[in-house]
């Protein structure tokens, strides 16, 4: 019994640290909530106010004159870049998974799958480095002007195309980061589908692709949905890669797909230095509110994903 008590003591560090994180953020951000109210998520201007002014009191909170915190542009940037990432990553991930599971012979499949899994381990800052050094010049000089010429008649695709930093570039880098997760999980699921299902479809005269597309894939539908949500959670919280390619826009909603943006996660990194200039501390507390909003969205998405995957029979999702 003594062993069990010690074990519980050690084991409770994990729940305790999560509770500490949530509690501390909540306590810390409370004055900011009182000050910002609902305006926080519907406003689009992040303004520290006059840093040389005398702090004034409002709603019982000390603030700088003219301070205003609204993060709608961050929420928009986060959601839009994640959406673009998903639009690219899901088709590519599904295609790659089918190719790996059904088109590649045994030995080679092992190696290629191994490669895809390794790519999931590449640190995000390396993706950011590639985006910064390779993708941005390519996008800014070549891809964006071509896209604007071909697709310019669609409102969101019209110019100006900017320098390459922005929404679409961030979406592409995010897509690359989540494709390995989708492809590897779905490949495992496809391989785990019973052979009988395939044989039945073949006996009915279906071609191999029809078997995969119309019989095997619907069977792993729930896992695809679950892993897509899981990948969404990862893209929402991604920091470094986005920070390096998004252009870190401030205080406006993206007018087109080439426009610089910022996401909540990247914003926390890029703004802490300037938030510290606020002597009342309200700016730093508002950043804590950003962190909390981001956590709530991200944890919610992640929990839904795990529920879906659990009900789809995948007891241990890839972490």
């Amino acid at each position: 019994m003594n062993f069990r008590r010690t074990l519980i003591g050690f084991a409770s560090v994990l729940p305790a640290s999560l509770i500490a994180v949530i509690l501390f953020l909540a306590i810390y951000y409370w004055p900011a909530v009182k000050f910002n109210g609902l305006e926080f998520i519907v406003g689009t201007s992040w303004n520290l106010g006059n840093t040389y002014g005398t702090p004034i009191m409002r709603n019982g909170v000390a603030m700088l004159p003219g301070a205003h915190y609204g993060i709608l542009f961050l929420i928009a940037g986060t959601l839009l870049s994640t959406l673009i990432a998903l639009l690219i990553a899901v088709p590519v991930g599904v295609g790659a998974a089918i190719f790996l599971a059904e088109a590649v012979p045994g030995r080679l499949r092992l190696w290629l799958s191994f490669l895809v899994e390794l790519l999931a381990a590449v640190p995000s800052v390396v993706f950011g480095l590639w985006g910064y050094a390779v993708l941005i010049p390519l996008m800014g000089h070549t891809v964006f002007p071509i896209m604007q010429r071909l697709l310019g008649f669609i409102p969101f695709f019209a110019g100006p195309t900017g320098s390459g930093y922005g929404l679409l570039t961030a979406g592409v880098v995010l897509a690359l980061m989540i494709v390995p997760l989708i492809a590897a999980t779905l490949r495992d699921a496809i391989l785990a589908e019973p052979m009988v299902v395939r044989e039945s479809a073949a006996a009915l005269g279906a071609t191999r692709f029809e078997t995969v597309w119309q019989v095997v894939l619907p069977g792993v539908r729930k896992i695809l949905i679950g892993v897509t949500i899981l990948a969404t959670g990862r893209a929402l919280g991604e920091t470094m890669a986005v920070l390096m390619v998004s252009g870190n826009a401030l205080n406006y909603l993206p007018p087109n797909i080439y426009s610089p943006i910022s996401t909540m996660a990247a914003f926390i990194v890029s703004q802490l230095d300037s938030a510290l200039q606020d002597p009342t501390g309200l700016a730093v507390r508002s950043l804590a509110e950003v962190a909390l909003v981001l956590s709530v969205i991200s944890v919610g998405v992640n929990t839904i994903a795990r529920l879906v995957l659990y009900r789809a029979g995948l007891k241990e999702a890839r972490l």
């Binding site: 003594n2 062993f3 074990l7 519980i8 084991a11 409770s12 994990l14 729940p15 640290s17 999560l18 994180v21 501390f24 953020l25 810390y28 088709p91 590519v92 295609g95 790659a96 089918i98 190719f99 790996l100 490669l115 895809v116 899994e117 381990a121 590449v122 640190p123 995000s124 800052v125 390396v126 993706f127 950011g128 480095l129 590639w130 050094a133 390779v134 690359l176 494709v179 071609t207 692709f209 029809e210 995969v212 597309w213 919280g237 991604e238 920091t239 470094m240 920070l243 996660a265 926390i268 990194v269 950043l287 962190a291 981001l294 956590s295 991200s298 944890v299 992640n302 929990t303 972490l319």
Partner: protein, 308 residues
């Protein structure tokens, strides 16, 4: 082949089966061709999808390799950073310190949580641990970094320090170690544990002598992967570890430490070729270490599967 023909006697059935009108035959062939074309297009699209993934990934790895290796000079390993030039010895040391330090903190607690969740899986507390671990995985790493900043760096007054960095990264790694430990333990045959209980072993003895040793390869894989995460993380370290161009002073608080991922992020933005070269060298080292650990972790797992 339609049903009316089938119903109107054996002779007619035989007749209908042998004679297919030429128009029907042509239509069938056309339909078959269409289906084959569609299938081929489908395979081609899947191949293109995999090709795109492979292309982008090889591009990233090749860029890191080519530019990284050309930037690797003995100076990188022998000297500390000076301004935006010099070497990366301080960062290499810092990355290893943070990695080892955070593992020293995370491993005992993570394994304990995983052990409890696996051995007493029916209890409420086990369910709480599992749920909390899943939630903690979902918390973005920058949020943990921010938490470390406002609590340890500011409130406790540790400033940028090794302790703040290690604790933050340890929290980040806890759920990974916990869940892989639990998974590895759940694959230990129940009969082995029951046999030990039947011989009079207590819970502690069963855990130490039976469950943990048998599950060791799986647990080790989890720890190695967590170590790889700690080497590759940037966001939670920016506001806990800070940056230092000097070797570690030996203090765990009030003394910032350098680390490799910071060098990538900060030095690529500098307008100097020497700084950019350092960024690529750091990227090469980080990628190389992380991939080597990941490969090692999978080999540990493969070896166990081979032994069975």
């Amino acid at each position: 082949m339609s049903s009316p023909t089938m119903n109107s006697g054996a002779a007619m059935t035989a007749n209908a089966m042998t004679t297919i009108s030429p128009r029907d035959a042509a239509a069938r062939i056309a339909r078959m061709r269409r289906r084959q074309l569609r299938s081929r297009t489908g395979w081609a699209l899947c191949g293109i999808a995999f090709g795109l993934l492979g292309l982008a990934m090889s591009w990233i790895l090749l860029m890191v390799m080519v530019r990284g290796i050309s930037a690797l000079t003995p100076t990188v390993f022998l000297e500390v950073t000076q301004g935006t030039g010099g070497g990366l010895l301080n960062a290499i040391e810092g990355t290893l310190l943070i990695g080892v330090g955070s593992m020293l903190l995370a491993v005992p607690f993570g394994i304990a949580a995983g052990l409890y969740a696996a051995q007493f899986s029916h209890t409420l507390f086990a369910r709480v641990i599992r749920f909390m671990a899943d939630v903690l995985v979902g918390v973005p790493s920058i949020v943990l970094g921010y938490f470390g900043y406002v609590t340890m760096v500011e409130w406790l007054g540790w400033n940028f320090s090794l302790a703040a960095a290690c604790i933050t990264v340890a929290i980040l790694c806890l759920p990974y170690i916990c869940r892989t430990t639990e998974l590895a333990l759940s694959q230990v045959p129940a009969a082995m544990q029951e046999a030990a209980y039947a011989l009079g072993a207590g819970e502690g003895r069963v855990a130490w002598k039976i469950s943990l040793p048998v599950a060791m390869p799986g647990i080790l894989t989890g720890v190695l992967l967590a170590f790889a995460i700690s080497v590759g993380e940037t966001a939670p370290l920016i506001y806990t570890a800070g940056w230092s161009s000097y070797l570690w002073s030996g203090q765990i608080v009030r003394s910032p430490v350098g680390y490799l991922t910071y060098a990538i992020w900060a030095f690529i933005n500098e307008p100097f070729a020497a700084a950019n070269a350092l960024a690529y060298a750091a990227a090469f080292l980080v990628t190389f270490i992380v991939l080597a650990i990941s490969i090692g972790a999978r080999l540990v797992l493969l070896k166990r599967q081979g032994a069975r």
